[in-house]
Symmetry: C2
Subunit: 367 residues, 2 copies
């Protein structure tokens, strides 16, 4: 029997920006031109297991172009070479995790992990090997924590790694984006940080351009994630958005977006929290649709959070803080506020910023 080895993250984010890096912090790729491997790679493992983190998109004034990854919370994907699967194809053998995951289709064409895995196999030009995939959902569905992106990111990384990791990060993002486009809309603000880790700014979609924003390594950043038992469908939350924005609000949100980016790069948690909380366009329209959200935000700030907003399209509320213990206290106040003001049960988690992104966490080498 082959030994199981647990690897440290194998995917260096080579384009990741550092303030003092000589490299350009800009990472550009064109969605119409993914890498296509001309020669089919051999599998280097018989099975692999990957993890991809939860992500917080939007971030107040970062609406639709900024997201970040959250450590210790996410989805797992296992992929193995399966002679019983038609060569060049993938089968989903199992989906485990929270009870809601029973809703998910095992048809690879209708499943986030499946779509992303197929896109990755196409880029790798896999024709001779069949794969089977197991998805372990660590994330609740539709909670605003990038559940679909985490599945897609973990699947892309697993498929790429089983064949020796030939693809670049941009390709994994493009594979994941194919899944996101079918499942939750053509947005990279969850899939990009799910794969790259840290904070990612989406510069443009045509061509796709991303900017990795490095939060200083010596600083701590914790997210307090409070998810109520409430459904906030992305479609409904998107329908709540204004179509037109007055110039003063536009200028305000732009300046807060700039301040948010500066605060991330400078590790200025107070500035980050303040900018995060300062959205005058999206949050004011969406918060009233989540019972208690406005009071939850106030409770977080009162309890010492640097800032608080809606995670993704909700219903999760996200607050930021520099200390895990204080994060737990803030979370308790937020849970209480959801119950008292929104009559909603909620659970609270305190998690660090993830700086790594989707990664291989285990593998069985091929003979």
């Amino acid at each position: 029997m082959a030994a199981i080895c647990f690897l440290s993250p194998v995917k260096p984010i080579t384009f990741s920006s550092s303030v003092h890096s000589k490299r350009s912090p800009l990472f550009r790729c064109n969605f119409s031109l993914p890498t296509i491997t001309t020669t089919e790679p051999e599998p280097v493992y018989t099975s692999v297991r990957s993890f991809a983190p939860a992500t917080v998109a939007n971030l107040g004034p970062g609406f639709d172009f900024l997201g970040c990854a959250v450590d210790g919370l996410g989805d797992f994907v296992s992929v193995r070479i399966d002679p019983s699967v038609h060569p060049g194809e993938i089968s989903i053998s199992d989906i485990t995790g929270n009870h809601a995951c029973k809703k998910l289709s095992k048809d690879p064409l209708r499943n986030c992990a499946g779509i992303s895995a197929i896109a990755t196999m196409k880029m790798l030009n896999i024709r001779s090997v069949g794969l089977s995939l197991t998805l372990e959902k660590g994330l609740p569905l539709g909670s605003g924590l990038g559940s679909s992106a985490a599945s897609a990111a973990a699947a892309a990384v697993a498929v790429n790694e089983i064949f020796g990791g030939k693809l670049e990060v941009k390709d994994l993002i493009l594979a994941g984006l194919e899944s996101e486009a079918k499942v939750s809309g053509y947005h990279a603000d969850n899939i990009a940080p799910a794969i790259m880790g840290g904070f990612v700014l989406i510069n443009s979609y045509d061509p796709l351009e991303l900017m990795s924003l490095k939060f200083p390594g010596e600083k701590e950043l914790f997210f307090v994630l409070v998810t109520p038992e409430f459904e906030a469908p992305t479609k409904k939350m998107r329908a709540a958005l204004p179509e037109e924005i007055g110039m003063p609000h536009h200028v305000w949100n732009c300046s807060q977006a700039g301040a948010l980016v500066a605060s991330v790069l400078q590790g200025d948690l107070m500035g980050l929290g303040k900018a995060l909380s300062n959205d005058k366009i999206v949050e004011p329209k969406r918060a009233p649709l989540i019972p208690g959200m406005e009071e939850v935000k106030k409770a977080a700030i009162r309890a010492g959070a640097f800032g608080c907003t809606i995670s993704g399209a909700g219903p999760t509320a996200v607050a930021v803080i520099d200390n895990e213990e204080r994060g737990k206290e803030i979370g308790e106040r937020m849970v209480e506020a959801f119950l008292k003001e929104g009559n909603l049960k909620a659970v609270s988690l305190v998690k660090r910023l993830d700086r790594v992104g989707a990664r291989l966490i285990g593998s069985v080498p091929a003979r």
Copy 2:
């Protein structure tokens, strides 16, 4: 006779942010609460001379909240103790410089430098000494280079320094802002960089909050400033702005604003130029009002500029580059384009980023 000493800049920007600074990069002050000196300071000089740089505001997607200072181009103010002036008052004795400066009023209440000087004297609580002021305009009026802000900034610094520099930078900005509010609108995106130097982001106006964005010291940044013989009144340029902005354009400009801020902090000139050029809201409305501007921008990019947009409300076009010689070539192409496409004569200047801001440049000590 007292010796004249020429001093190096005396006003350290102590709140200026550095990416690795332990200090908060946020600089907050409340317009309603300027410093008021309780005891009247004695003058430490009989006369002083100050300089304040030109500024480029708006910067494409940085509309109305981002500006930066330009070295080697600006206004000079001389202030001296004048026993013939009523104590606690200031008189403008002369305005020199380009011929357009004859338009400027010598009534201190109707002159940028005068208003700012009076506001500074009030904060210092000056009641026993009269001052006279000479303004030397280095900047053309209404060119989009922050002419009024440069006069106001130089005056505030001169008055403060003649009394020993008791006020904080925030107070000088508030004094200058009083002038800007009366002369060209309540906007800090010229006055703040004119006083602080470098790039400054205006976080909010109530209370006034600014963020100094440090462009890395080891990197070069040149502005190619091409000013055509054309009047673009701020009021007319402001009337051209859309009142409402569609969500896609809002998100686009916000993301470009974020990318612009990140590029400044990371010294990424390519990213800075690209973001600068990417405004989809303001520049498309204003550029057609300046004959030839659209072709001037194209000519700048063709000639190798990293980016180009309108400086302030125009008519000056500003391009960015990392090399002075190449900047001169780019400027020539831009001047040609103004002539060919807009039938406008234009002059081109290539100037470095100013990292210091308004400063004392000469003084005569009191006995």
